[in-house]
């Protein structure tokens, strides 16, 4: 059995790199990514599971890192927005102007990237099911939808 108390040294695999870090067991993955690793792409929005601004991938699946403890992520591959480079979804957001203030953008991109990795040609229903996990307060979603449609192949 693994036990962590006080200040615990753990190893996390972030964007393909194994990194050692000292955390409190109560620290959320979101705060460790931002405050210990300086990976500030994942945002602290609601910290309540509602907005999706904190979305990262754990073993390729999107999760809300405000509701995951860093110690729980040990042994999993963590991908943040900083680990995505020039992906079709990122290009789609640029070309289709899928953002305004940008606060929600990394969460959307990370989630949409996982969506397209899982369903390369998603139908409307699948896109809706995945993307309702993220909120945007600026764009009205049109640009975001266009960005994802541009990144996706023809529909399933």
């Amino acid at each position: 059995m693994i036990t962590y108390r006080g200040q615990a040294a753990i190893r996390l695999t972030v964007n393909g790199e194994v990194r050692e870090v000292v955390v409190r067991p109560a620290d959320t993955l979101l705060h460790v990514l931002r405050d210990r690793f300086g990976l500030t792409g994942a945002k602290a929005g609601c910290e309540n599971g509602d907005c999706g601004a904190c979305t990262v991938l754990l073993d390729g699946k999107p999760v809300k890192s405000c509701m995951v403890l860093a110690v729980e992520a040990e042994g999993s591959g963590i991908t943040t927005i900083e680990g995505l480079r020039d992906t079709p979804v990122q290009r789609g957001f640029l070309e289709q102007a899928g953002f305004q203030c940008g606060f929600c953008t990394s969460g959307f991109i990370v989630n949409a990237h996982a969506l397209l990795q899982t369903h390369p040609r998603p139908d409307r229903e699948t896109i809706r099911d995945w993307l309702e996990s993220n909120l945007c307060r600026c764009t009205g979603y049109e640009g975001i939808e266009k960005a994802i449609a541009a990144a996706a192949g023809p529909r399933e």
Binding site: T3, R24, N48, G49
Partner: protein
């Protein structure tokens, strides 16, 4: 940020989990079993709970089981709602697991939803409609009991006990079903009404959440729902009254509105499950 400190345990076996729970209590630390953590992390951040120790059940193999054996479908308490939703063993349960959003469903577990503190516990409804057996582990050892014996408004476990698995007879898991979920605005809202129903040989079985303070299945209500001497509309009306409970009244919906949704939901259930004849 979670302000208070806590100890985190990741046991590999049921025995280790029980040992960690007892050990934390002996140290004077308030232990909580941890599953998807969606409730524990958010409630801790807001200071609503202050766990001294978390015992993570997610990596215990028995809690991750998803199989059919000896005429039953077995669901580990540590399965995520997406895993349950994608599983064809119990179609009504797969549908009921479609709550919250896709990303949260990658973490939120069956056990956490059923044992959680919020009053909705929507994934318990399909289990309440069947002869589900709950496998529990606790300081006194492991036991298997009918879920109906330990779920009354909420899951009633002995101190230190946790839910390991739920076992559903396959014959019941395959029954024709109906589900209706009503919300105030977005599909992601907490429900004003969630009805789950099965059409069994002996008639319609129905359980619901959202209308009252906790999930409920009532034999009195089902007796009325299946009383074919009454017209369907009259049956729905009498069944709604037979709950004998006060509807919730809050900013999501008034009691009157919930009662109206309940009546419509009961009418639809009778219609959809062929109870009109």
């Amino acid at each position: 940020m979670i302000a208070h400190n806590l100890v985190y345990h990741r046991p590999e076996t049921i025995g280790e989990a029980l040992g960690a729970f007892a050990g934390a209590e002996a140290e004077g630390l308030k232990p909580y079993y941890l599953a998807g953590g969606t409730e524990i992390t958010t409630f801790s951040r807001r200071g609503l709970i202050t766990p001294g120790a978390l015992i993570d059940l997610k990596t215990i193999p028995e809690c991750r089981v998803l199989t059919r054996r000896e005429g039953s479908a077995v669901f580990g308490a540590g399965l995520t709602l997406n895993e349950v939703g994608e599983c064809p063993f119990f179609p009504l349960l797969s549908e009921a697991a479609g709550i919250v959003d896709h990303t949260v469903r990658n973490r939120l577990t069956l056990g956490g939803n059923i044992a959680g503190m919020l009053p909705y516990r929507e994934t318990v409804l399909p289990f309440l409609l069947t002869d589900t057996a709950a496998r529990l582990a606790g300081p006194g050892g492991e036991r298997e009991v009918p879920l109906a014996d330990i779920f009354s408004r909420r899951l009633k476990l002995k101190p230190g006990e946790f839910l390991v698995q739920l076992r559903v007879p396959e014959a019941e898991a395959g029954l024709p079903w109906f589900r209706r979920r009503r919300v105030k605005q977005s599909r992601l809202d907490y429900p004003l009404l969630t009805i789950c129903a099965l059409a069994a040989r002996d008639g319609i079985r129905l359980a619901l959440s959202g209308v009252f303070d906790s999930p409920v299945r009532s034999p009195e209500v089902e007796a009325v729902l299946n009383d074919r001497s009454l017209e369907p509309a009259r049956r729905a009306e009498t069944a709604a009254a037979a709950f004998g409970l006060r509807a919730r009244d809050d900013q999501r919906g008034s009691a009157q509105y919930r009662e109206m949704l309940l009546l419509r939901g009961l009418e639809e259930t009778i219609r959809e499950l062929g109870g009109e004849g």
